[in-house]
Amino acid sequence: MKKLTKSEHIKIYSYMMKIRRFEERSSQLYGMGHIGGFCHLYIGQEAVVVGVLMTIKKNDSVVTTYRDHGHMIARGLELKKIMAELTGRAEGYSSGKGGSMHMFSKENNFYGGHGIVGAQVPIGTGIAFTHKYNDDKNICRTYIGDGAMNNGQVFEAFNLAALWKLPALYIIENNKYGMGTSVDRAAAGSDLYKRGEAFGIKGEIIDGMNVYSVIKAAAKAGEYVRSGKGPYILEVQTYRYRGHSMSDPAKYRTKAELEEYKNSDPIEIVKEEIIKKKIATNKELEKIGKEIIKEVKTAADFALESNFPENKELFTDVYL
């Protein structure tokens, strides 16, 4: 892996900050009743998606779960259109019909945003199948929560991907809990990265709180998959600071556990690295942070000032 440039370090910091501030604002808007339904925040897991982002090619595809806001931001999508979707407005990425869990951007090769645990895995495998069918040398990254790793269709997809040597990179975001059930209470044999072994799929476990570990592993895994060797599994150990969704008080874990992870906060790790390497000063980083707060506020204002979908939209987009 080549060394990161100064601007890449700043990009990493900015994206992670953008996700965190955006999610904090989402939480606030949820509390105010502007965002409804289910809303799953990405706070604490920023290093995963931003680390992978640094290794992605423009025409590669991405599929993820319902904890997707961070993924969309990392894919370079517009904050205001994401926030407009969260608030159910016509200007949202899905015209207000998808909401937090179902957002897509075909032009950015972002294929959701899927609300059914595990269902995104065969779908991502099918997108990888298409890359191979079209022989375009692109790959599909499919994100999987630790909870989905006990879902049957995930293994059906692994089997097909290995059988047909599809360019599929599976990234397990192991944030320790599938809703309120810890991994060791749900998975017999908690080494999720080994769950492709029966199909001959190589797996690796990495520290997902440290973006630099993620970049290194994701680059290697991406290269492996792109070279035509078939699928690969990365298990990224991470942690969500908030509950499973907005309505979850997260009483299944201790405050001490949460504090322990907060002490190795992924954004702080990046910040320290940047200052240590003298890429930017604390003050300069604060300035970036303030700009991001402003950008997020603009997005929120845009969303709240946007119109709700017109009534006639109820009946559009059912058929093409």
Binding site: S94, I116, G124, E156
Partner: protein
């Protein structure tokens, strides 16, 4: 003593078979378990074994004879040794050669089902040909499913496709419905046009989440960005004595779902026109075939681009006295019932074959009822919340004052499908049930 060898029933739906070739000749000695002939069924070419030992006394059919009814004697096996010497003497030197040739050719791939008359083909050929024609026109179209490639299709629908298009586009999958259905949906999101063959629609229940939650809803959930051009096809409903888990009718299940289109062909003619529409459509389409109809022969359009639009019913028979709305396999029974009703009660029945279940052609049904003032629905599905139930709603809303009698629905019994042939017959709508319902709405 001689024993008759009968044309065996080698599949649940087989009513007749073709004698592909004899592997024995008259006079030859056979032991129990020896393969004596190759029989082509509605599904595959199978080997027939001798169940007793003896000498082949008589072969009643020759190689290539077709449409031999099940249970018809095809050969006579005798214990008489005199016969052996006589026959062998006559044919000295030819026995070994003929058997050798037969063995050699029996390992060759199954011959394509080339129809004798191009305008008059079976349902399975109509479906296969349409898939092939569309695959020739559009490289994005591919087919996947269990046994579709090397086995040539569990019901021979995909016969020959692997040879023509190769394993990149004709893909055998493991028995993994949820996995390969989800994979196909992902491929459709990304721009390909998959045709997913379910060996039967009963197995689609394993994958119904991907069909409904992923294929049907994503266009809406993405605000119109991501469509899903995909066809899910395969036999639906009852075959013959395959019991509860393999006999379910899914027409009402899938027709319930916005985002899906649902088609149910009844003849080779509409199978071609409807399937072509399905493959070319940018939306997910459920294409409900019927195993018993696969062997049904009929005319087809000679136009290679012939399509039947979604939401267009066919008036299979015009009439003035009672409307019967039906689809898929029940069309044949309904037409039969219409004949009886004409002969015995002088009733002119109008038979509407829906063809498309979603969207449904309300207009044709309403107009017909306005003319006949009486309506019966006939379908294989269970009665609760069936297609017939929806038609009842359409009529009460749009032609309430035109009705001269309550609407009667003829459905399968509201129980799981039984195995026993006697109970199975009771379970399914029969011609008599249709006649009875029509008599009832006519107060006869």
């Amino acid at each position: 003593m001689s024993i008759e060898i009968l044309m065996p029933a080698l599949s649940p739906t087989m009513t007749e078979g073709n004698l592909t070739k004899w592997l024995v000749i008259e006079g030859q000695e056979v032991k129990a378990g020896d393969v004596i002939a190759e029989i082509e069924t509605d599904k595959a070419t199978m080997e027939v074994e001798a169940v007793d030992e003896g000498f082949v006394e008589k072969l009643f059919f020759k190689d290539g004879d077709v449409n031999i009814p099940v249970n018809k004697p095809i050969a006579l096996i005798s214990g008489d040794k005199k016969l052996k010497s006589k026959k062998i003497n006559e044919k000295t030197g030819t026995v070994d050669k003929k058997i050798k040739e037969s063995k050699k050719s029996s390992t060759q791939p199954i011959e394509e089902d080339v129809p004798v008359d191009n305008e008059h083909i079976t349902m399975r050929e109509a479906i296969r040909d349409t898939i092939a024609e569309e695959m020739r026109k559009d490289k994005k179209v591919f087919i996947l499913g269990e046994e579709v490639a090397e086995y040539q299709g569990a019901y021979k629908v995909t016969q020959g496709l692997l040879d023509e298009f190769g394993d990149k586009r004709v893909i055998d999958t493991p028995i993994s419905e949820q996995g390969f259905t989800g994979l196909a949906v992902g491929a459709a999101f990304k721009g390909l046009t998959p045709i997913v063959e379910f060996m039967t629609f009963n197995f689609s229940m394993q994958a119904i989440d991907q069909i409904i939650n992923s294929a049907a809803k994503t266009l809406y959930m993405s605000g119109g960005q991501i469509n899903c051009p995909i066809v899910f096809r395969g036999p639906n409903g009852a075959a013959a004595q395959v019991a509860a888990q393999h006999s379910q009718d899914f027409s009402s299940w899938y027709s319930h779902v916005p985002g899906l289109k649902v088609l149910a062909p009844s003849t080779p003619f509409n199978a071609k026109g409807l399937l072509r529409s399905a493959i070319r459509d940018p939306n997910p389409v459920i294409f409900l075939e019927n195993e018993i109809l696969y062997g049904l022969k009929g005319e087809i359009s000679s136009d290679d681009n012939f399509t039947i639009p979604f939401g267009k019913a066919n008036i299979a028979k015009e009439g003035t006295d009672t409307t019967i709305v039906t689809y898929s396999i029940m069309l044949q029974k309904t037409l039969h019932a219409a004949k009886i009703l004409k002969n015995e009660f002088n009733l002119e029945i109008e038979v509407i074959d829906l063809q498309s279940l979603r969207p449904i052609d309300s207009e044709t049904i309403i107009n017909s009822v306005k003319k006949t003032n009486r309506i019966v629905t006939v379908e294989e599905s269970w009665p609760i919340a069936s297609i017939g139930s929806e038609i009842v709603n359409i009529i009460q809303k749009n032609a309430f004052d035109d009705l001269d009698a309550p609407i009667i629905k003829v459905n399968s019994a509201d129980v799981p499908m039984p195995y026993s042939s006697s109970l199975e017959k009771l379970y399914l709508p029969q011609i008599d049930d249709i006649v009875k319902a029509v008599k009832e709405v006519n107060y006869i």
